[in-house]
Symmetry: C2
Subunit: 294 residues, 2 copies
Amino acid sequence: MTVGIVGLGLIGGSMAIDLKRRGFASLVLGVESDPVNAAAAEKIGLVDKVVSFGECVRKSDITVLAVPVGTAVRMLPEVLDLFAAESGTEGRGRGADSCRKIVIDVCSTKEALVKAVHYHPFRGRYVATHPMAGTEYSGPWAAMPGLFDGRACIICDSHESAPSAVRTVGELYDVLNMRQIFMDSASHDVHTAYVSHISHVTSFALALTVLDKEKDEKHIFDLASGGFSSTVRLAKSNADMWVPILSQNRDNVLQVIDTYIDRMRQFREAIADDDESSVRSLIEDANRIKRIIR
Amino acid sequence: MTVGIVGLGLIGGSMAIDLKRRGFASLVLGVESDPVNAAAAEKIGLVDKVVSFGECVRKSDITVLAVPVGTAVRMLPEVLDLFAAESGTEGRGRGADSCRKIVIDVCSTKEALVKAVHYHPFRGRYVATHPMAGTEYSGPWAAMPGLFDGRACIICDSHESAPSAVRTVGELYDVLNMRQIFMDSASHDVHTAYVSHISHVTSFALALTVLDKEKDEKHIFDLASGGFSSTVRLAKSNADMWVPILSQNRDNVLQVIDTYIDRMRQFREAIADDDESSVRSLIEDANRIKRIIR
């Protein structure tokens, strides 16, 4: 099987490594618009060949859109249009049914993508997926084997995809050792706002707060311990990826930010009032997270 | 040398392990008010013997207060009073000068402690220290060898301590492989508000935000990835330790919380206004944290 990966960053690059290494893909093609990243991806050997977008879609059995979600929303209908063009001009029904090609995305928000191709005659050839794995690093040099092992992959609105396409994509994620969770795209976007997007915003805000203070206190980071590093780690995340996520998931993210600011205010008031019993019960409530993360 | 550790939790227990193992202490005595923790500490073998507070201070060359800061503020003058009583009643000068005993604390806030004994005739026998190491776990079972290796230890207001006491405490932290940073206690408390205390509050608030949502969305944590876990990790921290820290460092912590909430609001407004260029510049500003943490 030929797999084409559009976007050779952390996620696309890591998929390329394991899909080839574990025998799912006999050939991995790559598309990368940034010339430095493209050259690096070829040099590192992430993909067998870097090709144009059109060539990639034409030659691949599965095309993976591993680009920022804003770009993916633009590319996805183009890929389905190319599938349609290849399948001839017989019209809606026949062409799509005989097409065996598949396109997936791996983006962190889903609703806008699914909406963008809802009425496309080749909609069935698209499977919306979100492998929940990553690090705070980006670019082809951040790609690593085993990134996805044991993590969850969300498959959204799978009833809109052709069953055979969902099956093949299931095999792809089996090879990556991911457990699949099926969910509608609206729920996905609410969930990720809570367990992923907000923690990026809180890390960015924390980094900004302490970096501001560094202007007056040059040595402030001498005192930073492992706890601070852990909490602020996501603030290293890439703007090209996160600007479109926060934009596409705007309403959900705003709701979570508002709840979060309320909780910060509760802490602030309890501390300001020297109300130790309220501070204690807020902390003990928060400690329930022990049940969730180890 | 006999070292007495008051409070056999993560910090006290980890000090006990390495000071004995590395030969700095020939005997380690322990004090622990919680009977379960005391029994566990003896069973694990963290200390040679669990004794009473009075016996510990009487028999130890160095007493380490490794208890929550509110408790330490109460205990510290008691320890110096015991030193004075042992040194006889010759009054301020002679007794303190001839005393060789030392007490240190290892708490995360310093100003209240230093103030509490500022005029004590045996003030010179106290060295205010803050070894910047830890995990989100607590209790004697959280203690571990090597916890302090390579981390920073802050020594506060050392001009108020006897030079010989500062030297001996320096040797103790050398044995723990910590680099020492000297600072006044007021600056210490500002710095730790920024690089430690705020990240605990942001983690607590994040945990509360997502735990609230779990009431409606039972499976929300199925989607939590490594980034979320990292950001929320400190929310497992113990209330007994953190209530007094936030109380003692109240004014500094409130100032940081206010700055932090301002930054969250900036993000909120930029996202709400679909102002992608502002979101991008906030993220890129926050990315400067890469320079600090690896």
